[in-house]
Subunit: 374 residues, 3 copies
Amino acid sequence: MPTTTWNRHHVLSLADFTAAEYDTVLQTAASFQEVLSRRTKKVPTLQGHVVANLFFEPSTRTRSSFELAAKRLSADILNFAAATSSMTKGETILDTAKTYLAMGTDIMVIRHKEAGVPNAIAAEMDRLGVRVSVLNAGDGQHEHPSQALLDLFTICTLIDPAHPRLELLKGKKIAIVGDILHSRVARSNIWSLTASGAQVHLAAPPTLLPKLFAQYIFEESEGAQDLTKVQKSENTNQEFIISSSPSSPSSPSSPTSHSQNRQLFLHWHLEPALQDADFVMTLRLQKERMTAHLLPSLREYHHMFGITRTKLQLCKPNVKVLHPGPVNRGVEISSELMDDPEFSLIQSQVTSGVAVRMALLYLLGSGKTSAIQN
Amino acid sequence: MPTTTWNRHHVLSLADFTAAEYDTVLQTAASFQEVLSRRTKKVPTLQGHVVANLFFEPSTRTRSSFELAAKRLSADILNFAAATSSMTKGETILDTAKTYLAMGTDIMVIRHKEAGVPNAIAAEMDRLGVRVSVLNAGDGQHEHPSQALLDLFTICTLIDPAHPRLELLKGKKIAIVGDILHSRVARSNIWSLTASGAQVHLAAPPTLLPKLFAQYIFEESEGAQDLTKVQKSENTNQEFIISSSPSSPSSPSSPTSHSQNRQLFLHWHLEPALQDADFVMTLRLQKERMTAHLLPSLREYHHMFGITRTKLQLCKPNVKVLHPGPVNRGVEISSELMDDPEFSLIQSQVTSGVAVRMALLYLLGSGKTSAIQN
Amino acid sequence: MPTTTWNRHHVLSLADFTAAEYDTVLQTAASFQEVLSRRTKKVPTLQGHVVANLFFEPSTRTRSSFELAAKRLSADILNFAAATSSMTKGETILDTAKTYLAMGTDIMVIRHKEAGVPNAIAAEMDRLGVRVSVLNAGDGQHEHPSQALLDLFTICTLIDPAHPRLELLKGKKIAIVGDILHSRVARSNIWSLTASGAQVHLAAPPTLLPKLFAQYIFEESEGAQDLTKVQKSENTNQEFIISSSPSSPSSPSSPTSHSQNRQLFLHWHLEPALQDADFVMTLRLQKERMTAHLLPSLREYHHMFGITRTKLQLCKPNVKVLHPGPVNRGVEISSELMDDPEFSLIQSQVTSGVAVRMALLYLLGSGKTSAIQN
């Protein structure tokens, strides 16, 4: 088990994650991945601890992943599902959280359809001076940090299974394709992948790219104007460099300075994003976007932004494809490609999810425990 | 662990609870409260036992509390939620209970919207000669014994954390405010609190006071008539003394005779109930009472019966406020008061809930186990 | 624990179960029945293993039974309920199953309203070369093998509690009464009971008998024509012998040849099926059959095919009645008969269910574990 110091009390966003923190999560997850390959895939690390899954927005996949991660750490789990709950009638979300606090919860895993709810609960816990940790399992269109961390872990372990670390991605080209505008997965991935020194290329129809980014978009059809801009992020001191072409990467930097120059490229077409890409991350398309007239048709969307074996020929030969799931087969990705183990990392992502969530629960709970035993 | 004898096989109502039984629950819960302060909050007491949560009426708060209590005793839990269940189609509730019996359930925790269901199931189990225990987790407008016991524990441990016991409440003035008529919480609390020798003052609008009590109400505005009455309870041999004023308390009595003279006072206004009160228990207001024309408006209700810091000035200086939750902020209690740790015991109640429910499960299961180990 | 070899990787159907396999399940279940009579009803056999309950069709009874069986083997359980799930939106059932595979599931217990889903998932797992086992917990109108195995275990342990085995049923007359057409329970029971050498008599209104069988029906009112036919099953090499009367049983055969001659008799009336029966299995009547005009009325159905004490007088004196539950009291079976322990095995079936499901989970998981310990 790595002995890296971990001082973070909540995991709410990846915006201020340091390289050391990324590496700690990756290395801890690698240790748990090893545990999961044993015959008895369970450690007593969090025995007697209570993990409350407070899913105000329904989820089966993410909740099951956290539930299994907690069980494999021997924690006790309380599942709260707002849909079938008689709580929250009249009381606030903070009241609900405080009720679980008072029952003795150690870690709260929170999903909510509104951005900022996990932050608000974490702030209240801190105000109360209690040791409860909050883990954001997806809040509105804000962030989904555990998903981005499992994506990162999936990619890094592919490159170096024994020692996954952030710097492995330096100089890699990673395309993120699809509904960037509404995707908390994209938002968290942009933080982690740009922090690694990778070149991150977003590709989406104009209606599904954040307005904030739209003014900086590089449209190759308009000629190669020098559109390089530097934009100050609102939340942090880090800078986004939005370059006009892949030909102006950031200069080589030491591992500790990797987060200084973040490279983000935006495209209204798929092809320049796929060109020589090492990894292609596709995003789930919420079908309700159709009814909001943000998309012409699923067929046309697939024609323009759906990933197929043919389109992958633009990428590096050993390119891999990711998707957070559940996949709309034949929309974001062709059915045959999804099932092709040569290209698809989708199953690995699910497996990584359990290891990464074990790592997060372990790191958040480790202030109260000693170490992983078996 | 206290060595007090416990012969009760079911916990259905507090109507016939003896002082010794109250004290056994309080002392056992205190032991578990200590367990909960350890790093590993788990004991193997009920390992291999099955606790079935049969919640025919939805509940998150109470179910989670019982579920956590059972997990901390290392029991296996089966959750049954009628809302999402394909059972009970055609079969009776007794059939459902017998199915869980046949699966090997040791303790059934039952909530139902109809009064008497837990009693009926317990009677059937006894008729069958099986050892299954039934614990009433709220039945209609009848009783909610574990809630009243956790209220009692919360109050008693505030007075003497190490040795909570019934006699600590002797002579205390406790106000119960709100929808008494429809409240199973109030009904159970009236049994336990009057058994302790406390003076229990109910305050509610006339439409929300039980008709049974209404004829005995002491209305100070009508002058100090001698309205003292003695009323025989239908279910037990115990008597309710409904006195016209706090100036006629029962005479001092030995610990074993405390339940002989129960003092219950009823008010149509809040102020006389609050006057010099040591504790104020507020009840949840079901908003559907509004549509039934039992209430003018939530705002007016709050004006007349809502608890605020200002109104608390009528009480003893160190008065504490309780509420079973979930709270309608700004209705039963002002939002600022609810969050004020100087006055509010609401969080303590939730914490006490786990310890008291561990105690109840332990006592009901103890015929089959030896003692608390760690 | 029996040392019988068990090579089956999935339990999808009883159509190709061998006598040795039936006996292994029965004997293993008997061992677990003994475990369940201990004070601590838990064994560490499947510790660290993950059992996923994938119930695409709602079920409380069967899911609880599998859940308890898994808990008593110390497995970790993931519950998936399609009704409240956000999964399967856009993805296929196979995708959902592969997600649980990727999370590390060892055994999938699957219920679906469409016949063949468990088979399709098992085929996909085999194609992928993974070691996951699939257990059919009821698929459409196809099969429900664990129910038929628990029925078999219930009957066999009644005859010889210490050594339940298939040959105990040789020559017994067993009536299956009710909605044969739509019943996966009936279908699985027909495989196991005819394999045992018992004479199986189906009785149902013509509208609720499978069309496949209808042409061979023995209608005593039409005179005793020689309607004996031999019909080749579509799925296996086994033969159904549909005889015109119980007076032509198959000749005595050695234990290993018991499955050669399967005896199945069909009746449009109840009486010939009950005549001298040793066991009567009643089936649940789905009330929606009424609206499909397959039945006149529940009252008339009960009059013609409902089992009562009076009708049981046609049977052997010590006849027993089974029902998979939940029972429509007063429809398939009279209320008083259901509660009569002299005749009803319904509670025993539920208890057997946990032991039999422990046996199945144990046998499917035993490739990865050593043996039952305590």
